[in-house]
Amino acid sequence: DAGVTQSPTHLIKTRGQQVTLRCSPKSGHDTVSWYQQALGQGPQFIFQYYEEEERQRGNFPDRFSGHQFPNYSSELNVNALLLGDSALYLCASSSYRGSHYNEQFFGPGTRLTVL
């Protein structure tokens, strides 16, 4: 059983460009959350998708947007990249069963470097 997968593994962009990161959740999971982890810090919540809708959003600007597809996979889009967007972007999946005590499983992340 494959866990959470993310692509690409690494990405290098320049300021002002746009980037799309992809995530496939663990089999049986229907909820996807995205986190940004700056070097030496804990992950920061960006947003969460369930039933193809954004359910929760963290303190991130509108430059960060996302999408969830009918097969539960998800994309994270970042527009007008800034140097400060350089980070490890983590996708986590979970299964919503009417309870929020649902474990979140993280993927390996996408390392984004903005030059």
Binding site: G40, Y96, H100
Partner: protein
């Protein structure tokens, strides 16, 4: 504003020692407290989690102690091994936030042979 405060930032123990990592929170609505282990270049992996209706939980060599009145919880790694050298994160979430995890800043643990 960091909702979960984690300490220490780093610690070094000898093999067989018991590293202890502490976390404190302010939001009394938090009702789920997981701990994650992260190795360099990898995503966080769930180690163990606790709910506020219990004061202690053990899974293998990992133990969570929870003090609801003090709004604190801690991770103990029993009989630590060099392979336990990693960064450990505490986190918290509440039912109304759809599982949105608030993470601590992390503790880098080094276990020497």
């Amino acid at each position: 504003q960091q909702q979960v405060k984690q300490s220490p930032q780093s610690l070094i123990v000898q093999k067989g020692g018991i590293p202890i990592i502490n976390c404190a929170y302010e939001n009394t609505a938090f009702d789920y407290f997981p701990w994650y282990q992260q190795f360099p270049g990898k995503g966080p992996a769930l180690l163990i989690a606790i709910r506020p209706d219990v004061s202690e939980k053990k899974e293998g060599r990992f133990t969570i102690s929870f003090n609801k009145s003090a709004k604190q919880f801690s991770l103990h790694i029993m009989d630590s091994q060099p392979g336990d050298s990693a960064t450990y994160f505490c986190a918290a979430s509440n039912t109304d936030s759809w599982g949105k995890l608030q993470f601590g800043a992390g503790t880098q643990v080094v276990v020497t042979p």
